[in-house]
């Protein structure tokens, strides 16, 4: 419910008031949405959006659109770009549905997909390589490792978000780097793309220490053309940062970040327990929410507003907080609060020059903010044991009691994981809790499968599935692990190999807006050799060959004589002659000595 509301709110903001002015001039908007989540977490959702007209984009006159990114897109003939940097895991069980309906997040690591304008597949791939190389430099990420083995061309999993009129040569390419560690070096270039550069407005809250300390965070960059019915086009760049902060963890001062136990007298103990005493305590669950303020949680103040935002009323309220209206919230004096009539949301008008802070004191809540249940739960794990084979198990749970969920499962598997699609099996657990095996064709309505080619491309598997109401479906298939070549192993081969998360696109959403879920990434242990092996092999085989050769050669060349003949012959060898000479020398010296005596 929450996220649905959040999305519909932002969607509404995006559609109604801004569309009237969006095409008049290049403009810029930013918004921060805060929502306390259960388990003392805080969701902070930042959104920055700027537009530029297609004409000035083509002529390379950049105002709010970042020049570096614009030139890369033009050079790579990229019409639409989606780039995601994600770390951590969204805990759907306690936090509910995802922000932006999952459309602004990627799988763990880096995920990139783009629509590229090219006459053919090969040209599109060449442009794609140009794009990944350039973005790799711009964002300090290893995107240049997105090669043909990590690139797929999804057929049904993604739809272009922008308007591409009259462009029929568009190619969708998709690449993931599940092992990429997202960190501050990616945040700095991300901030540089913003017109206010983290110096004014909500972007002043970004601090690498806090952002990457979050339980879950996702940064996204989306570029897409937006056209009116009259054919007037603008290029829109939208950047978002979503993070879930642990309030208690974030409030620790940076100088003293080590958590310390509370003193005994401050502990809330359950005194009804029989063992409760001076030194034994059963802690009670908190009944109040944590107290927090923006400056405590983010470690920084919010410095005024970015003056580039439009002057119409809605965009001035760039900070919104979703807590029950009854809750006490203190704000800086110069700012004003506007309560929305849904009972939960309040937005704040900031004063342009003053620093802004929100402070929520510790208090008991009677009406908690409802958390929307996710449409679908998905979990993917690797099962099996041994170095040779394994299996994949994907569990889908449909929590709804009334509607079935139709969705597309998109898997892009590395080539060294060779799935056996014929082993695809499905079991279903209905409301009665009985596990039944059913033919996969009852669940899978269509399949798009592109098998892997060793060292050239990975497996691409897209399944259109349907999970009936209130049931859990388990899909399993077996796979074989390939043995890599010596040079193909990374330095940390024993850690395992990352398998990109599966992307799930839910089809039957109420308003046909995109809704995505991504599973966690997996770690696949492959048979790993001892890396001094080649030298050992060389030495061992050499020794064997030399032994065999020496034996054969000696048999062919040596002369066979009897033992006593051999002693006579020894005298003729170099060794024998040397020995003889030594004896002769000794004999010559000894008589001399005797003479002197």
């Amino acid at each position: 419910m929450t996220a649905l509301f959040l999305c519909s709110l932002l969607l509404a903001l995006a559609v109604t008031p801004w569309s009237s002015t969006a095409f008049a001039s290049p403009d810029y908007h930013e918004q921060l949405f805060l929502q306390p989540l259960p388990q003392s977490s805080l969701l902070a959702s930042f959104n920055f959006r700027s537009n530029t007209s297609q004409q000035s984009f083509d002529n390379q006159h950049f105002r709010y659109f970042p020049r570096a990114l614009g030139q890369i897109l033009q050079h790579a003939h990229t019409k639409e770009l989606h780039l995601r940097f994600t770390t951590g895991r969204w805990d759907a069980e306690s936090w509910g549905s995802r922000p932006w309906r999952g459309s602004k997040e990627g799988g763990t690591g880096v995920e990139l997909w783009a629509w590229i304008d090219a006459p053919g597949d090969e040209e599109a791939f060449a442009k794609w390589i140009t794009l990944t190389q350039s973005l790799s430099g711009l964002f300090c990420a290893s995107l240049n490792f997105v090669d043909s083995t990590r690139t797929t061309r999804p057929v049904v999993s993604f739809e272009p978000a922008g308007n591409h009129q009259g462009a029929d040569g568009l190619h969708l390419l998709h690449g993931t780097l599940p092992g990429e560690v997202v960190c501050t070096e990616n945040l700095t270039p991300f901030l540089k793309l913003l017109p206010c550069k983290g110096k004014a407005g909500i972007s002043t809250l970004f601090d690498g220490h806090k952002l990457f300390d979050a339980a879950w965070q996702s940064m996204s960059v989306d570029v897409q053309p937006i056209c009116t019915a009259e054919g007037e086009c603008t290029v829109q760049i939208e950047q978002t940062v979503d993070m879930v902060l642990d309030i208690e963890r974030s409030k620790r001062p940076r100088a003293n970040p080590i958590p310390r136990p509370l003193p005994n007298d401050q502990l809330a103990c359950d005194t009804s327990k029989p063992y409760n005493s001076e030194d034994t305590c059963y802690p009670l669950e908190r009944i109040t929410d944590n107290a927090w303020s923006l400056s405590e949680v983010f470690g920084r103040n919010l410095d005024g507003v970015c003056p580039l935002t439009g002057s119409d009323g809605t965009s001035e309220q760039s900070v919104c907080l979703r807590v029950p209206h009854e809750k006490q919230v203190f704000i800086t004096q110069e700012a004003s609060e506007i309560k929305k009539d849904d009972g939960f949301t309040r937005c704040f008008s900031l004063s342009p020059s003053q620093a802004f802070d929100i402070s929520v004191p510790e208090q008991t809540v009677t009406t908690p903010v409802p958390i929307e249940e996710p449409i679908l739960n998905a979990e993917r794990t690797i099962v099996g044991h041994g170095q040779e084979r394994g299996g994949m198990r994907i569990i889908f749970g449909n929590p709804s009691n009334t509607t079935a969920v139709d969705f597309i499962l998109f898997e892009s598997l590395p080539w060294f994981l060779r799935p056996y699609i014929h082993t695809l099996q499905a079991t279903i657990t209905g409301q009665d809790g009985i596990r039944r095996e059913i033919p996969t064709k009852d669940l899978v309505s269509s399949t798009y499968y592109r098998p892997a080619i060793d060292r050239e491309r990975g497996t691409q598997l897209e399944l259109a599935l349907s999970v009936p109401a209130a049931s859990t479906v388990t899909l399993t298939y077996d796979f074989e692990k390939a043995i890599l070549r010596y040079t193909e192993y990374p330095p940390d081969a024993n850690r395992g190999f990352n398998v990109a998360p599966a992307v799930i696109r839910i089809l039957n959403t109420p308003d046909s807006a995109p809704f995505y879920i991504r599973s966690t990434s997996l770690l696949l242990p492959l048979p790993t050799p001892d890396f001094s092996m080649p030298y050992n092999v060389i030495i061992l085989t050499s020794t064997v060959i030399a032994l065999a050769f020496g034996t054969v050669f000696n048999i062919l060349v040596r002369r066979v004589v009897s033992v006593d003949e051999a002693t006579a012959l020894v005298a003729q060898t170099v060794k024998g002659r040397l020995l003889g000479k030594l004896i002769a020398l000794r004999d010559r010296i000894r008589p001399k000595q005797t003479k002197v005596e």
Partner: protein, 568 residues
């Protein structure tokens, strides 16, 4: 084979004789049969035959690197300047519509004579030629200023300048006038000074010769400076001119076919956040760039960057009471650009990027100037230019939110000036077409030299590193470079400078391509220790018995041969 049974084996040493005498019970085995010796010889020979005729060629084949043949000597000759001595014969047309044919012929001859006397740099000389089509010369010449620049394929030399000699009443001495947008020099003379064929050195000829000499003085000095390297070129050049030429050459960019011009508006606050950049570029810059079309292409991009602060290392501007302005010290200007934070990354695509920065200081630091000379702009050599724009403040002491086209005029005039300097355009003469022509000749000279020296470097590189491969496309690039270099040289000799520049461009491109060929750097590098570690475990145990066997056989054969000779 000559050893008879019963005979003692010939190489018996005295020691063995002694041992034999000591131990009488041991007996020497019977000598080997000739068949056994023969078999052993064959076995060893067979092994060695396999090694030499099969193993060695296979090893050679599989480990050799492909090295295409390069004309090393020719490349070194180009680098040493032995193959081509660039010469610059400039053809100048003289039109004297109101002079009789013998008179004009005489004027031409005497002027040429004076010019040759004045010239001290033989590689660069002016050739005068009389033209007859005088009626439409003025109109034609204007057209020529663009069309001659485009004439690249023609067989005739480019006409660099047209001199019109016209009489004018009421003049005491001749005077000249250079039209700023054409390649035409008008010389007016008093009618009394019409040179008669008898005078050997008429004042009019001397005047024209001096004018021409003055016109091409800087170009001559520049080319002499480039061709002679770092040492001073001409004796007659003044030290100031030499200094300014070498300064210009130091500042100017390397030649490229395409330059990316990047105009950026930087300001430490949030305003101004927009500017009339499209109109300003169209109005103030496009004509200049169009004139440059035969030499280079340009792409333009612009950006607005707000909240652009100085780096913490930059010394802050100081308020100067007397000037009523914030001043930057000259020596601090190099730290003005905050390279770490300002997004000034080069544009994508081939060719260098020239950055032009329009900096609008914060109202609290406005106006901002350079302390020493109150200047508001400076050039960053081989990188771009900076202009400090101090717009009039609004009523509330803030910068205007929008910069109009008019307020950008001074900045863009400065930028076009900086662009000319960065591209290496000479400062004289006044006419832009003439300066561009000079630039063509200067660029052709630099490209010729740089491509030649790249060839020399490549030759030295391949000589000094025998282990790098030379793919076939490097060889073909080298041959293209060499053929275009000689084409450049002959075009220069014939006075076709546009064609020369076109060939020199190709030569430079191909030379760079061959030098920076990726496959020449081995992808897999095996150090010698690695090779020893791989080869030795196999070759050691196998090689020792083979070599010992070979040595024994050779020794036996030698002994046999000696014995045979002794017997004979």
């Amino acid at each position: 084979m000559t050893v008879k049974p019963g005979d003692p084996v010939s190489p018996l040493t005295p020691a063995s004789d002694a041992s034999k005498s000591h131990t009488t019970r041991t007996r020497v085995p019977p000598p080997e049969t000739p068949e056994a010796v023969q078999t052993r010889f064959r076995v060893i020979a067979a092994f060695w035959a396999v090694i030499i005729f099969l193993g060695f060629p296979i090893w050679w084949q599989t480990t050799s690197i492909y090295r295409a043949h390069l004309p090393i000597q020719e490349m070194v000759d180009w680098a040493d300047g032995k193959t081509c001595r660039p010469v610059y014969p400039l053809e100048i047309h003289v039109a004297a519509p109101l002079l009789q044919s013998p008179e004009s012929q005489h004027l031409l001859r005497t002027t040429q004579h004076t010019l040759d006397d004045l010239n001290e740099f033989a590689a660069h000389h002016l050739r005068l030629k009389l033209t007859n089509d005088t009626s439409d010369s003025a109109a034609r010449v204007v057209e020529d200023s663009t069309s001659t620049l485009r004439n690249t394929a023609g067989e005739t030399p480019d006409v660099v300048l047209t001199v019109r000699v016209l009489p004018e009443e009421g003049l005491a001495t001749p005077r000249s006038e250079l039209l700023a947008h054409t390649t035409q020099l008008d010389v007016f003379y008093p009618p009394s000074q019409i040179p008669s064929p008898s005078t050997s050195n008429p004042p009019l000829s001397v005047f024209i010769a001096q004018e021409l000499q003055r016109l091409y003085g800087e170009e001559k000095a520049t080319i002499a400076h480039i061709l002679s390297g770092e040492s001073a070129g001409l004796d007659s050049t003044s030290p100031q001119l030499t200094e300014s030429i070498s300064r210009r050459l130091r500042r100017s960019m390397k030649y490229a076919e395409t330059y990316h011009l990047s105009f950026s508006l930087f300001t430490p606050g949030s305003v101004p956040s927009s500017w009339d950049i499209e109109a300003a570029v169209q109005e103030y810059l496009s004509p200049l760039l169009d004139a440059f079309e035969p030499i280079s292409n340009f792409t333009i991009d612009t950006q607005v960057q707000l909240y652009a602060t100085f780096s913490p290392m930059t010394p802050a501007p100081i308020y100067d009471e007397t000037e009523a302005a914030w001043t930057l010290k000259k020596e601090d200007l190099s730290a003005f650009i905050n390279a770490a934070e300002w997004p000034l990354n080069p544009s994508i695509g081939n060719g260098p990027t020239l950055n032009f920065i329009l900096y609008v200081p914060d109202p609290s630091q406005s106006p901002m100037v350079v302390k020493e000379n109150r200047a508001s702009s400076w050039i960053v050599p081989q990188w771009g230019g900076v202009f400090l724009l101090n717009p009039p403040l609004e009523k509330d002491q803030s910068n205007p939110a929008h910069l109009s086209q008019d307020s950008l005029q001074s900045a863009f005039m400065t930028f076009s000036h900086q662009l000319l300097t960065l591209l290496g355009t000479p400062s004289t003469p006044a006419s832009l077409p003439l300066r561009l022509q000079t630039l063509i000749r200067v660029r052709a000279a630099t490209l010729l030299l740089s491509a030649s020296s790249t060839m020399g470097s490549l030759a030295r590189l391949t000589e000094s590193l025998p282990s790098i491969p030379i793919p076939a496309n490097v060889a073909s690039s080298v041959s293209t470079t060499l053929s275009h270099l000689s084409a450049t040289c002959s075009h220069l000799r014939d006075g076709r400078f546009n064609a020369a520049l076109a060939s020199a461009r190709v030569a430079e491109n191909e030379a760079e391509r061959s030098f920076f060929e990726k496959t020449m750097v081995g992808q897999v590098y095996f150090p010698d220790e690695h090779k020893v570690a791989v080869y030795l475990p196999l070759l050691g145990p196998i090689g020792v018995p083979l070599i010992v066997g070979l040595m024994k056989e050779v020794k036996r054969l030698l002994a046999e041969w000696k014995a045979k000779r002794a017997a004979a």
